[in-house]
């Protein structure tokens, strides 16, 4: 079973993604900040990370992205944000995909499948 880490400071988003992705057959891990996220990726086998950019009002999702990539450059990371403006930010270009949050999770699920299959 593939393991997905969701990093977001919104509790209900975590609930929604956990439910939906579990329904898709993934093992879902949750982190609410940078420290938790890095602890999990360090200790556990994670196949993919879904990362929010703004955590508690700060842009520290970008910092997390860099740290995750330094930790494991092959770990696929999907940036998932309510903000589309970060698309032009060079720091987001390290991510494997950038998706704007939507109530329709079909695109997210499809991107997860692709990345886990090695399609970028």
């Amino acid at each position: 079973m593939k393991s997905i880490l969701i990093v977001d400071d919104e509790e209900h988003i975590l609930d929604l993604y956990q439910k939906e992705l579990a329904d898709e057959g993934y093992e879902v891990k949750l982190a609410r900040d940078v420290t938790q996220a890095l602890e999990i990726t360090d200790k556990e086998k994670i196949n993919l990370v879904i990362l929010d950019i703004k955590l508690y009002g700060e842009e520290n999702g970008l910092e997390t992205l860099s740290l995750l990539k330094r930790q494991n450059k092959d770990l696929p990371v999907i940036l998932n944000s309510a903000y589309s403006t970060y698309k032009n930010n060079f720091q987001t270009w390290l991510a494997d995909a950038y998706l704007v949050k939507s109530s329709n999770l079909d695109e997210l699920k499809e991107k997860i499948r692709d990345l886990l299959r090695g399609i970028r």
């Binding site: 988003i13 860099s66 589309s84 390290l94 109530s103």
Partner: protein, 587 residues
Amino acid sequence: MEIQLSAEKINNLDLLIKQLRDIFQELTVGIFICDQNGKIRYVNNFFPKVLGSSKPEDSVGLNVLELENIRAVGIDKKFKETLEQGKSFAVERVKYRSIWGKEAFLSLRVTPLKEKDGNYAGLIGFVEDESNKVKLEESLKQNIYELSIIDGVEKVLGSTLNLNEILDIILIAVTAGQGLGFNRAFLLLLDDKETFLEGKMAIGPSNPDEAFRIWNNLSQQNQSLEEILKSYRSALEQKDIEVNQIVQKIKISMKEQGNPLIQSVSDKQARYLNEENCSASDISQLFELLGTRRVALAPLISVDKVEGLILADNFITGKEIKAEDLKLLQIFAHHAGSAIERSRLYLRLEKKLVELEEANRKIAESSQRMIRMERSQAIEEITLEVAHELRNPMTIIGGFARSILKNITPQDANYKYLEIIVSEIDRMESLLTSFLDYVHNSKNKTKELNLNQVIEQTLETLKEEFREKRIYLVKNLQPGIPNLFLNPAWLNSSLINLLKNMLYNSGSGGSLNIATRLFKDEIILSLSLLSPNSIVEEAKSSSLAMASALIENLGGTLKYHSEDKERFYLEIKLFTKGGQDEKHPHS
């Protein structure tokens, strides 16, 4: 009729002469004694000096009643009255030409000589040469006259700072009868580069008829110089067409050192030019143009700077131009030069003042614009923040509604309502996306900008980051590169993110060389990073591909390569405005 003098009378006179001789001999006044017939019996040693003869004996024996020269000035009758009626007389500063050819202003005092019996024995005269005094007085009068003219002109020149008015006043003062009294005046000024002396304007009648009409009209008005200077301008309007046509034809290169006009400008000395003192080759053209062969000229000087030259002549009257006319013209030209300089300084000051006012206006406008921008930017940021904040709850509501929908059948009582929630959330998300796209696009309009300036601003923004990472910056920005025409926000964002990423992925220490250069229609921006432990190479695959896409959106290209782990080179090519127009003529 000559009286037969008795021997006694003669002896008495000779005795008197003998008695006075020693006293008179050394006096510095001419003294002569005549007998009753007017015949000179004695002159002292100084007398010949006054009249211009060589020795006293030359005058003895001459008769004052018979000399033509004395008759010519009308004092022979006065001598006669003294001899016959005993009347004394005096004449002051009569212009006299002696029989020895000397011309002088003489003062004469004559007194009758009486004998003991009261009869007249002759006369004694005292004569003084007052020529030097007269000359001094005339010179003083001339100086006073010159001063009064200069004072009058100075007052009027000081009343205006308008250059055209000053030039008018200069010309009028040179030609007005109450001024310098020349017939015509021409004004030549040095051009801005001081390479040519060019005729600017002139004043004066074209022919004797016109001159008579103007001068007659002005003389009847009995105005002072100041009044003339103020009113002359309108009186002469439209009447100087011919002289102005002449002056416009005068243009002399400052390199023509043989030309007397250029010489006058160079040595700052006034000159009187005529056929005798000028070489024909240098000046004949000017004489021909002016229609006269006698011209006075004086340089217009202010402190050490020559502004131009005044040319003046007596074309109509043919009156001789005297040394004092030239002197007065030179003095006047100095004052005129100062007035021109004063006006030019004022104009420069006025220009600076306008520039200063304009700068102040721009600063005020800019600060207003800044305030407006900051205000609208703050509102925009809040709006965007709110819009983004809406997306999370919409995602949650819509997401859960979809999730529930998947697990119930259409027969479920809530199915229809959940469908409504999903549909409305879809609509809201769509609206939100459109709104954010609109705001984002309107923020990113294309405009003309200078890449070097954008780089400088970007480096200033990242100054602290470079310092912290101990990355030394080397800038080689080609000055004067053409402007680009593209989306400033995109370019700014690209550069900031590109540099941030390079900084983030570089180790501590090293250098970054940033260079711009123009090559044909393109501006090439190169970034060359030399830093140990750099992981730019590792990061480049995904991030630089996206950077490349963004630069392509700006109409440019991005290439990169790394020689080893420590060296990373990136080159961006952007089309200049001209190159872009050519490439995309309709964009």
